[in-house]
Structures are given as structure tokens and as C-alpha cells.
């Protein structure tokens, strides 16, 4: 994934603002995600920690939600992040983002904007160079709704 520097900075600034809101770690990925996670990671254990997921807790329509994932990693040839993934179990396409990283990135951080179909938990997973997988999750509420019975 490539982002030009200006846009990345803007996104980081936005995300920095948003991160003051509590980011709640997920105890477990939601059931909808089980098959998707199996497809991407096989049976690999996904542990909580090392990953920071920054998202606004409230999104108006969910159409354009800024997101930043960063991972606690020195990003050296010996110890770095290989990939970062984002999942939204209640989206029509739950597999939202796959990125490949390496020591050349210098810092383990990706920013983008994603679409969130409805209120749900967003899951970020990072795979390290030792093949361990780490995660963080955030509940996002899409506020647009109405009087529908």
C-alpha cells in the first residue's frame, strides 16, 4: 500500500486526534470473522497486544472512516512486521485491508480510510517476522440510523 506523504500526515493527524478516545481491546474476534481469519491465517494463534488500532468511536455514515494501525516493532531485518490486516465482520466484504511490510518501511504503521457498513467491532491483525500474529480491536458505532421499525 502506498500513500503519499502529505496524505499520510493528514491521516496521522486525524488519527492522533481520535486516539484520545478509549480504544478497547477485543477479547475475541467476532463469530462472523472465524472463516475469514482461517482463510488468511490458517489455524495460527492470534494473540492480543502489540497492535494499536486508532479509529473514531463514532462515525456518522461509516462511508469514510479514518483508521491507523501501528505495531510495536523495531522493524529490523531480524524483527519486523510482515503484514497488517483489517477486518470488519459485518461488512459485505469483511476482509477490508491487507498490507505487506518489511524492514525498509522503518516504522510499522499504516493509515487509510475504510468503509464501515454498520456498528461493529473492527479487528486489526499484524503478522511478525517470527510468524506470530498479534491483534487489537475497536468497537465503532455508526450513528446514522432512523425511525425504521
Amino acid at each position: 500500500m502506498r500513500l503519499d506523504i502529505g496524505r499520510r500526515r493528514a491521516l496521522q493527524a486525524l488519527a492522533a486526534g481520535a486516539c484520545l478516545l478509549a480504544v478497547r481491546p477485543a477479547s475475541a474476534a467476532s463469530a462472523e470473522l472465524d472463516p475469514v481469519l482461517r482463510e488468511v491465517f490458517g489455524g495460527r494463534e492470534i494473540r492480543e497486544g502489540r497492535v494499536t488500532l486508532e479509529l473514531p468511536r463514532l462515525a456518522e455514515s461509516g462511508n469514510v472512516v479514518p483508521v491507523t494501525v501501528s505495531v510495536d516493532s523495531p522493524m529490523t531485518p531480524q524483527d519486523h512486521v510482515k503484514s497488517i490486516h483489517l477486518f470488519a465482520g459485518k461488512n459485505p466484504q469483511p476482509r477490508v485491508l491487507d498490507t505487506q511490510l518489511g524492514p525498509h518501511n522503518g516504522v510499522a504503521r499504516v493509515s487509510s480510510r475504510i468503509r464501515i457498513a454498520q456498528s461493529q467491532q473492527i479487528l486489526a491483525v499484524a503478522v511478525m517476522s517470527d510468524d506470530s500474529a498479534w491483534s487489537a480491536a475497536v468497537d465503532v458505532v455508526v450513528t446514522i440510523t432512523g425511525c425504521g421499525d
Binding site: L14, G17, A18, L20, L21, A22, R24, P56, R57, L58, A59, E60, S61, K90, N91, P92, A117, Q118, V141, V142, T143, I144, T145, G146, C147, G148, D149
Partner: protein
């Protein structure tokens, strides 16, 4: 009179803003208790002052439906506080976001305020009570179980000691909040189900109520707006020079599809925006008309294969073997919410902080819209909710007035900007109850039994514009309500759905699909009964056996004395519908004079909403629902020409008048094992009951709204 009144109200606001030392935090809203500095937050729901005043935080919005009172009753019932010292206040939206959505859902819509929050609000009261008792018991060194509570007084009779909530609040706030406090048995409720005086009524009756349009901060400037008259269009250019020198004009600010003039008062801003030359790009929608929209809907009726929302039995076989087949098409057009208070918001952007004063049906939607529009993080956005001058679904998901106000405010840092839409903008830029066209076919056997039913719907989806993920297999789950979930036991039933979305922005109009689908369904069932030579009430009864629908239907039939002959010239209609978790039925009596003047004599509505929080508020919602329905079926119609709305104000978009309003009787019959909504359900039942009574009176079957297009009017 009016001028004096407005001046005094404005003075009050300016003074109170000055007293609180600034424009940012300090508007003191009459009728709202602002927790004083020495008040203690026992829990996030309950704040207690030393004088025993109990402030109950309200997350939902007061739109006139009585939520401030009803929601407070739920908390106070379990808290055992002195009701005379209860003061509700809005839960702060900014704090809500900072405290991890501590007050849960803030949405005020879908007839959900009471039914969705009743359990956690009763628990909130019970938790606070347990904490207060525990604090008193600790001070006395006695077991909490030996203490009793009544009207904010905690007593330990064995030792003859007593104290009050105000005295132990501080100690109680240090204790952990019990997560699962014991709730009262329903038979012990003293407050829930009664009708204490409403908190919102006195200030509204005396003119003290501060609505968004009344908010005045020192140095406020005023904005009036014009939006692209053709939906979906964009702003191309405007000639600012033409208005720049007009009296009082300060700025012209533009958005993607709107332009606003800011001036030192609203009249000048509005004069200038009306004089502003503006060019729009109509985005190819400039030739859309009500006729072309109708043709578009017809493609959904004529289409060969469309998604199937429900299929029971074998409809084709039922029709093949039918003795009689009835077929009818029903439709209705766009409707505007026409809230008494046109859309309005005041915004102030200063030092990276954004403040917004607005009447909203969802504080979370407002804070998010404001934050996303100008890129100010949520925790720096402060939404000050005012009671809304009517909501009806207009002020919930669609926050464009908030977005416009904060956009203008960001252009003028440090200056409060009050954006007030004109009535004309409000009528022409609503979020309209969408258009629908329905083709219904019914099969009767030789004995007049209803054996087959086919419902093909073609209509515009609201959900696809706001929550597309809810659409499955092309079916709108809301627009198919009343058909796909109908309570009638008909063995062979197919419900097909064809979504057709014109360019007009749709919205959730009070009762949503239950403003039209019950009209179609219940009038068509009367058509079947007529074809079968059966009484419409008796025709329905066996098909509703074992449902809660039957009980409310029987109740209105009994109340109107259905089995007796009405007075000479008087005709009856009946209908039943379940919606928003409740069951409603309506019976009406009317006469039609000269074949066109309808004199509605009685409207009876029965509702089973499971449980009742504020009894008189339920009556109030029935009355306002009947008025809402009578208005829709007779008067209201938004038509489209050249891609834009033809109506502009109440002269061509009239609503029901007092003189047209009949006697309304309510039968509230909560059966107890659930909590249903009351704000919307009555509407669905009253509209078809009127349609059916008109058929009974005239032999003319009305298959579209409004009645004025069929030559009818109400007697005044």
C-alpha cells in the same frame, strides 16, 4: 405582544449567558436543572444535590413526546426518591464520547426511547439506591438490609435513625456501582404507569422554552441559506459582489450544493441570499417529475422477476382454483416532516474547539456530523441539545443543517453563527417519506374464504441511503413491513419487492413504511371482505386468532359498538396493525356530506404497548398520531416538477387544522409481558380506518393519498 415576549426572552438569554461568564459553556436552559457545583454524581445517571434535588441524566431527546418525564419515572421508581425533587437534564454529549458512550444509545426515534432503555434505566435507579443505602448503613454501622427507603429518606427503624439522599450522596459515590441490582416486582410500582405533571409542558406553555432558534450568544451573526433546488445538483457559481454591499451583510459562504449569506440579523441575511445570483448544475435531474417517478415505480410493478420477501404455500395454485380474484393498485407520494421549527443550528468555532446548539433526535449523530465536517476531533466538539420544535424523524440521521452551520462557523472563528433555514428551504429540502406503488391480488374460494394473496411492492428505499448493509437480496426490510410480517393466517401468500430509487432524498417520516403499507393492506382486506359479502370486522377475526392484534381489534369494535347500526348518515371503518413492537387498531365514525365533505365524528384507537411508563403521554401520543394520520391522508403531498419540489410553505403544503380535528378516544390496554413503542404505532391504524369508512359512506374505494386529490375535504 409577540415583540415584547421575544425581547424579554432574548434578554433573559443574553443575561444568563453573561452571568455564566462566557458564551461557550454557559447557556442556562430554563426548565433544565444544571447540576450545581456541589452536586454529587452518585452514578452517571443520578446526580444528587445537598438539598436532596435529584438530577436524572437523559440521553434521549425531548421532542414533545414526554421523554424527559417518562424516562425519569423509570429511574425514580427504583431510586425511591422524592419525585417532587426530580429534575431531568440532558446527558452531555461530549462527556458521553469521552466516557466511552456511558449513557448508551442517544437515538430518539423508532418509538424506542422507553422500550429500549427501560431495563437499564430501572437498574440505574436501583443501583444508585443501593449505593445510597449502603453509605448510610456504613455510617451507622448497621446492615444495609435493615434500612428502608422512601421519598429520598433512608431509615433504620431499629435505632430510630434516618438521613436523606443529599447527606449520604458523597459517601455513596465512593462505592462501587452494583451491576445487577434487584429490581422491584411490577406489582410494587408506584410511579411507572402513572401520570405525573410533565417537565416540559410549563415552559412550552409560557414561551420560556429555549429552542435552537432562540439561542442567542453575544456577538451572534445570522445565516440564511439556499440549496440547489434540484436534488443531487451542485453549486457552480454565485456573484457575491451583487450582495456584498447590502445592509448588514458580512460574509458569503458556500458548500458543495448550497450557499449562505451571513449578516448582522437574519432578515438581512435572508434578503441578501434571495438576491444572490446563483448558478447550479442540475446533475441531469432537471426533467424529473412526479409523473416520471410514477412511471419509474411502474417498472417495478411490471418487472418479470423481482426479489421475494416472503412466500407461503402456493399462490399460483390458489389463484388457479379461486372462485373470485380481486386486484387493486395503491400508491402515495412524498411527504415532508414540516416540523413547526424549521431546521436551525448555532455553531461557534474557536481555538480548535467547536460548540453546536441544536435540536436533535440523536446527540451522537450531531457530534459525529460536526466533527467529520470540519475535522475537529470528537472530544473537542461540544453539542448543546435544546428541546426540538418537532422531530418526526427529520432531526435524527440527517444532520445537514448541523454540517452547514459548522462549515460557516469554521470560516468565521470566534463568532457564533446561527444558521436558520427559511420555511421555504425546509419544505423544499426535506428528507421525504418516499413514494410507493403496490399491486395487490387476492383470491377467494366459493365460500368467500381468503385463500391466496399476492403483494408486489415497488418503492423507494430509505435504508439503502443510510444502512445499505441491511438490504439483503435486494429487499428493504423496513419497506416490506406490514406485508412480509403481516399477522393474517392466509395459507398462500407471496410478497415481492422491487426497489426503485428516484433522485428525491428519502427520510424516516414518523411511522415510516407504516404510514402507507397498513393503508394498502387494511383497505385491500376490506375490498376482499366486500367481494366476499362479509362484514370487514368479522372477515378479519378468524384470520387473527391467537394474535395480540385480535385483542385490540375487538376492543375498538366493542367501543364503537360495531355490531349495532350507526346513527343515520354515519359510517364506520376499522383497521388493525402492529408496528414498533406494539399492537394498534382504530375504528372511526364519519359522515360524508354532499359526496365530498367528510365529517369525522369519532376516532377510537386501542393500543397494546405491553407496559406504560407515563400514562397520559400514551394518550397524548395516540392523539398526536391520529392528527398526524388525518393530516397525511387528507392534505399532504409533495410533488416534483423540473427535478424540484413544487410546494414551499403551508399555503400549498397544509397540515390538519384544529377545526378539522375530531374527538379522539384512546384505549390503552397493556398486556404486560413486553415493552412496545407508542410514538408511531397509532398512525398506521387510523389512516386505513378512514379509507374504509369513506368506502362505507360513498361506495368509492380510495386507493391513493391524499384525499384532496379525490375531491374530498374535512368539514370545519
Amino acid at each position: 405582544m409577540t415583540t415584547t415576549f421575544k425581547e424579554s426572552r432574548r434578554d433573559f438569554l443574553v443575561k444568563s449567558a453573561a452571568v455564566t461568564g462566557g458564551l461557550v459553556l454557559g447557556i442556562r436552559m430554563p426548565g433544565l436543572a444544571q447540576a450545581a457545583g456541589d452536586a454529587t454524581e452518585v452514578t452517571h445517571w443520578v446526580v444528587i444535590q445537598p438539598d436532596d434535588t435529584v438530577v436524572i441524566r437523559i440521553a434521549r431527546s425531548e421532542l414533545g413526546q414526554g421523554s424527559f418525564t417518562g424516562l425519569s419515572q423509570l429511574v425514580a421508581e427504583e431510586l425511591e426518591c422524592d419525585w417532587n425533587k426530580v429534575r431531568p437534564e440532558y446527558a452531555d454529549v461530549n462527556e458521553h464520547v469521552r466516557r466511552d458512550r456511558i449513557w448508551k444509545d442517544m437515538l430518539t426515534g423508532g418509538s424506542r426511547s422507553i422500550r429500549d432503555s427501560q431495563e437499564y434505566l430501572r437498574k440505574a435507579g436501583a443501583s444508585a439506591r443501593e449505593m445510597l443505602v449502603a453509605a448510610a448503613a456504613q455510617q451507622w454501622g448497621v446492615p444495609a438490609s435493615q434500612c428502608t427507603v422512601s421519598k429520598s429518606v433512608i431509615t433504620h427503624s431499629a435505632s430510630g435513625r434516618s438521613t436523606t439522599f443529599g447527606k449520604v450522596a458523597s459517601a455513596a459515590s465512593m462505592l462501587d456501582m452494583p451491576e445487577n441490582p434487584k429490581l422491584k416486582d411490577k406489582k410494587d410500582w408506584k410511579l411507572i404507569g402513572t401520570s405525573p405533571a410533565r417537565f416540559d409542558v410549563p415552559d412550552k406553555s409560557t414561551g420560556k422554552q429555549v429552542y435552537a432558534a432562540d439561542v442567542r450568544l453575544p456577538g451572534t451573526v445570522y445565516a440564511s441559506i439556499v440549496q440547489c433546488p434540484v436534488f443531487g445538483g451542485k453549486l457552480v457559481s454565485y456573484d457575491e459582489a451583487k450582495v456584498r454591499s447590502m445592509r448588514g451583510v458580512k460574509r458569503v459562504v458556500a458548500g458543495e450544493d448550497w450557499v449562505a449569506v451571513v449578516a448582522d440579523n437574519w432578515w438581512r441575511a435572508n434578503q441578501a441570499v434571495k438576491a444572490l445570483p446563483v448558478q447550479w448544475d442540475e446533475a441531469g435531474n432537471g426533467d424529473v417529475s412526479s409523473d416520471s417517478i410514477m412511471q419509474f415505480l411502474r417498472t417495478g410493478i411490471d418487472a418479470k422477476d423481482v426479489p421475494v420477501a416472503r412466500k407461503d404455500g402456493d399462490v399460483d395454485r390458489a389463484f388457479a382454483g379461486a372462485a373470485k380474484v380481486i386486484e387493486a393498485e395503491y400508491h402515495s407520494g412524498y411527504l415532508n416532516h414540516a416540523t413547526m421549527e424549521p431546521q436551525c443550528a448555532t455553531a461557534l468555532f474557536k481555538d480548535d474547539r467547536l460548540d453546536v446548539w441544536v435540536g436533535t433526535q440523536n446527540g451522537e449523530a450531531t457530534i459525529t456530523a460536526a466533527s467529520e465536517t470540519v475535522g475537529v476531533p470528537l472530544e473537542n466538539v461540544y453539542v448543546h441539545k435544546t428541546h426540538a420544535g418537532g422531530g418526526f424523524g427529520r432531526r435524527g440521521p440527517h444532520q445537514e443543517y448541523t454540517r452547514q452551520a459548522v462549515t460557516i462557523a469554521k470560516e468565521m472563528p470566534g463568532t457564533p453563527v446561527c444558521l436558520q433555514w427559511s420555511r421555504e428551504e425546509d419544505i423544499r429540502h426535506g428528507r421525504y417519506r418516499p413514494v410507493t406503488l403496490v399491486k395487490l391480488r387476492g383470491a377467494l374460494d366459493k365460500d368467500g374464504n381468503w385463500i391466496g394473496w399476492h403483494a408486489r411492492q415497488a418503492d423507494q428505499s430509505i435504508i439503502v441511503t443510510v444502512r445499505p448493509a441491511m438490504i439483503e437480496n435486494g429487499i428493504d426490510p423496513i419497506n416490506t413491513r406490514s406485508f412480509r410480517d403481516n399477522p393474517y393466517k392466509v395459507a398462500n401468500f407471496t410478497n415481492e419487492y422491487a426497489m426503485r430509487n428516484p433522485h428525491v432524498p428519502p427520510g424516516f417520516w414518523r411511522a415510516v413504511a407504516h404510514t402507507n403499507n397498513p393503508f394498502y393492506r387494511e383497505c385491500f382486506i376490506d375490498e376482499l371482505a366486500h367481494a366476499a359479502g362479509k362484514d370487514p370486522y368479522q372477515f378479519r377475526r378468524p384470520l387473527l386468532q391467537g394474535t395480540k392484534d385480535l385483542a385490540v381489534l375487538d376492543a375498538v369494535a366493542k367501543a364503537v359498538n360495531w355490531n349495532s347500526r350507526p346513527a343515520r348518515g354515519v359510517h364506520r371503518g376499522i383497521a388493525v396493525v402492529d408496528s414498533y413492537g406494539s399492537y394498534t387498531a382504530a375504528a372511526v365514525e364519519l359522515s360524508v356530506e354532499g359526496g365530498s365533505v367528510i365529517d369525522v365524528k369519532r376516532v377510537i384507537v386501542a393500543i397494546d404497548c405491553g407496559n406504560v411508563a407515563h400514562a397520559d403521554a400514551v394518550n397524548g401520543q395516540i392523539e398526536s398520531g391520529v392528527i398526524w394520520g388525518l393530516s397525511a391522508i387528507m392534505h399532504e403531498d409533495i410533488t416534483i416538477k423540473d427535478g424540484r419540489v413544487e410546494q414551499s410553505n403551508f399555503h400549498d403544503y397544509p397540515v390538519l387544522r384544529l377545526a378539522e380535528t375530531p374527538t379522539i378516544e384512546s384505549i390503552v390496554m397493556p398486556s404486560g409481558d413486553f415493552w412496545g413503542g407508542v410514538g408511531e404505532p397509532p398512525i398506521g391504524a387510523v389512516i386505513p380506518a378512514i379509507g374504509n369508512a369513506i368506502f362505507s359512506a360513498t361506495g368509492k374505494r380510495i386507493r391513493s393519498m391524499p384525499l384532496k386529490h379525490h375531491g374530498f375535504s374535512y368539514k370545519t
